[in-house]
C-alpha cells in the first residue's frame, strides 16, 4: 500500500506566544510535530505493518522542518519529502497549501493519505478536505478507528462526541482525531536508522507550479494578544460564606444567574 502522511510543524504547546508588529515572534521557539499528525504517523505505521507498503511523510515548510521529518522517520516512516517554499513564496493560506500538495501528489497513486484533524496553531482544519477534493478522492475527517480490508475501508468517526460508523473505499484521505491510537516514541535504533532514510527536498519549480497558481485567497491583517484579563478574584473566608458571595456576584454583578 502506498501511504502518505501530511505533517505540519507547530509551536510547542507550552510555548508562550509573543507578538511583534502584527506577527507571531518565532525566533528561538521550540517546534514540534503537530500532535494530531503524530496520530497520523502512528496509524500509517500500523496500517503498513498490517498490509505492507511504504510510508512517505510530506511537509511544506522551511529548512528547519527537517527536524520534524527526521522524528517521523525515527518513529517508523520510510521516506520524507520537504517542500521548501522559503525562497519562492512570501504569503500563503490554506488554499496555497492545498494547491502545492495537489501538485506534489500528481501521478503519485496514493492509496491512503493521513492528515491531522487540525493544526494547533492556525487551526482551520481545511488542508485535508481541500486536498482530497483537489485529488478527486473521498475523505473522512476526525476518525477514531480505521480498518482496511482489500479496497474496503471501515471507519469510526467522532462527530461532536457521537460515533459514526462509515464505509468507504481506497483511495482515501482521512484526518486523525484523539482516540485513534497512542503514538509511539522514536526508539534509539529508530533514531539511528532515520539518519539514513531518504529525505527529498523540493521547491515550487520542481512541482511545475507558478507562483500565481498558489496565490493566497485570504490575508492576515493583524495578529494580537487577547486583552490582559483582569486578575480574577479568589474568594476568602469560610467556604459557606464564599459560596454565598459567589452566587451574589454571579447574580448581581455578572447577571448570569
Amino acid at each position: 500500500m502506498n501511504i502518505y502522511v501530511l505533517l505540519k510543524k507547530t509551536f510547542d504547546t507550552e510555548e508562550k506566544i509573543t507578538v511583534q508588529g502584527g506577527r507571531i515572534e518565532d525566533d528561538g521557539a521550540e517546534f514540534i510535530i503537530n500532535p494530531y499528525d503524530e496520530y497520523a504517523i502512528e496509524e500509517a505505521i500500523v496500517q503498513r505493518d498490517a498490509h505492507d507498503g511504504e510510508i512517505t511523510v510530506v511537509t511544506i515548510g522551511d529548512e528547519d522542518s527537517e527536524k520534524q521529518l527526521r522524528t517521523a522517520l525515527a518513529m517508523g516512516a520510510d521516506k520524507a519529502v520537504l517542500i521548501n517554499t522559503e525562497e519562492d513564496l512570501e504569503d500563503g493560506d490554506q488554499f496555497t497549501t492545498a494547491k502545492i500538495l495537489e501538485a506534489y501528489f500528481e501521478g503519485k497513486d496514493a492509496d491512503l493519505i493521513l492528515a491531522g484533524n487540525v493544526a494547533i496553531d492556525e487551526a482551520s482544519g481545511q488542508v485535508g478536505p481541500r486536498l482530497a477534493e483537489l485529488l478527486g478522492i473521498p475523505y473522512v475527517t476526525t476518525i477514531t478507528s480505521l480498518s482496511i480490508d482489500g479496497a474496503a475501508v471501515s471507519i469510526e468517526k467522532d462527530v461532536e462526541g457521537d460515533v459514526e460508523v462509515i464505509e468507504t473505499s481506497l483511495p482515501l484521505l482521512v484526518t486523525c482525531q484523539q482516540g485513534l491510537n497512542d503514538p509511539r516514541y522514536p526508539s534509539l535504533p529508530g533514531i539511528m536508522k532515520a539518519k539514513k532514510k531518504p529525505l527529498e527536498e523540493l521547491e515550487i519549480d520542481d512541482l511545475d507550479l507558478d507562483e500565481d497558481d498558489v496565490e493566497a485567497k485570504t490575508k492576515t491583517i493583524d495578529i494580537y494578544l487577547p486583552p490582559e484579563k483582569e486578575a480574577g478574584k479568589v474568594l476568602e473566608g469560610e467556604i459557606a460564606d464564599q459560596v454565598k458571595e459567589l452566587v451574589s456576584l454571579l447574580k448581581n454583578d455578572k447577571k448570569v444567574l
Binding site: 483537489l134 485567497k217 452566587v247
Partner: protein
C-alpha cells in the same frame, strides 16, 4: 447591486441548530443589505424549518429533501449545495463551525477555488469590507483576516455572534429544489449516540465541567444536579474522560468541544492549555479547585480554593435559594 449570501443551516432531529440562526446574523453583519438565502437539507419535509429560518432573518430558503441526505456526508451535501451555488451565483457563504461545517466547507471552497476563513468569533467593518477575527494558537492569540477577492466564505464559532430576534411576521419563499444525490463513495452505516439528550454542550449558556479531581463517575452526580438547577449542561476535561468518569462526548478543549457559554464552572480541573483552548472565551469563568497554584485560576473571574465535594452541595443549595 446588493450582495447575495447563502447561509447553510443545519437541521438536527427536525430542529434547526441555534448556530445556524447565528450564521444569518453574521451574514447581516458582513453585508447589511445583502439578500440572504437559507439552504436546508434533509430526508424530511423542510417547509416549517424553512419558515423558522425566515423568521430568524433569511429572505428566502431553498430546501433539498432526498433519502440520501438522511445522514450528513460531504459528498451528498456537496452535490446539493454546489448545484444551488451554480444556480444562484452568490457572493458568499456562511455556516456554523460545527462538525458538519468543518467537514463540508473546505470541500466547497476547494471546488470554488475560494478562500475560507474558519472559526470566526467576531466581525468588524472597515468601510464596506468585513474583517474577521478568529482565535489562533489555542486561543493564546487572535488574528484579523480578510479576503483578497470579493468572494466571502466563513464559518462561525457557536455562541459568539448573537442570533437575531425571532420575528414571525417576516415572510419569504421556501422553495423545494430537486437534486439527485447519487454515487456516494462514503456511507454512514450507523450512528452511535453518546452525547446526552438535553442541552447541547456547544450551545449551552451554562456549563458545569468536571475534571480528574471529581475522582469517579459517582463524583459527577452532584455536577449534574448543579447543571440542572442552572439549566445548563455538564462537560469534562480530558483527564476525567481518560479516567472513565464520563464519556468522551463531554470532553471540552482542543480535541473536544469548543464552547463559549455565559457561565463556565470548572470543577477539579487544573487548566491545561488544551483545555483552555476549548473554554477560555467563556464570558464568566468560575474555578473550584483545592490547589491555589492551579492554572485554572489564571483564567477564572472567580475562584474558590477548596474541596469540591464540600463546595458543590453548598452551591446547589444557594443557587436553589436565589432561583426560588
Amino acid at each position: 447591486m446588493s450582495d447575495k449570501l447563502l447561509v447553510i443551516g443545519e437541521v438536527r432531529d427536525n430542529d434547526i441548530r441555534n448556530v445556524s440562526f447565528e450564521a444569518i446574523a453574521a451574514a447581516k453583519q458582513i453585508s447589511a443589505d445583502a439578500e440572504i438565502v437559507g439552504v436546508l437539507l434533509s430526508d424530511n419535509d423542510l417547509t416549517s424549518a424553512g419558515e423558522e429560518f425566515i423568521a430568524h432573518g433569511a429572505d428566502s430558503v431553498i430546501t433539498v429533501t432526498h433519502e440520501n441526505l438522511k445522514e450528513y456526508t460531504s459528498e451528498g451535501y456537496g452535490q446539493a449545495i454546489l448545484e444551488i451555488i451554480d444556480e444562484l451565483s452568490p457572493n458568499g457563504i456562511v455556516m456554523g463551525h460545527t462538525s458538519i461545517g468543518k467537514d463540508l466547507t473546505p470541500k466547497i471552497a476547494s471546488r470554488l477555488s475560494a478562500g475560507l476563513i474558519s472559526d470566526v468569533v467576531d466581525i468588524e467593518k472597515d468601510g464596506d469590507d468585513a474583517v474577521y477575527i478568529r482565535p489562533i494558537y489555542s486561543g493564546k492569540a487572535f488574528e484579523k483576516k480578510a479576503f483578497e477577492d470579493d468572494f466571502t466564505f466563513v464559518t462561525i464559532r457557536p455562541n459568539n455572534i448573537p442570533a437575531l430576534e425571532k420575528d414571525t411576521s417576516r415572510s419569504g419563499d421556501v422553495t423545494a429544489k430537486d437534486v439527485d444525490i447519487k454515487d456516494l463513495r462514503t456511507i454512514v452505516k450507523e450512528v452511535v449516540r453518546k452525547a446526552s439528550e438535553g442541552v447541547d454542550l456547544s450551545e449551552a449558556n451554562v456549563i458545569v465541567a468536571g475534571g480528574r479531581g471529581v475522582k469517579s463517575a459517582d463524583g459527577f452526580k452532584p455536577l449534574y444536579e448543579l447543571a440542572e438547577v442552572l439549566g445548563g449542561a455538564v462537560g469534562a476535561s480530558r483527564g476525567a474522560c481518560d479516567a472513565d468518569y464520563c464519556d468522551y462526548a463531554l470532553q471540552i478543549g482542543q480535541t473536544g468541544k469548543v464552547v463559549t457559554p455565559d457561565l463556565y464552572i470548572a470543577v477539579g480541573i487544573s487548566g491545561a492549555i488544551q483545555h483552555l483552548a476549548g473554554m477560555s472565551n467563556s464570558k464568566v469563568i468560575v474555578a473550584i479547585n483545592k490547589d491555589p497554584e492551579s492554572n485554572i485560576f489564571n483564567v477564572a473571574d472567580y475562584g474558590i480554593v477548596g474541596d469540591l465535594f464540600e463546595v458543590i452541595p453548598l452551591l446547589i443549595e444557594e443557587i436553589k435559594k436565589v432561583k426560588a
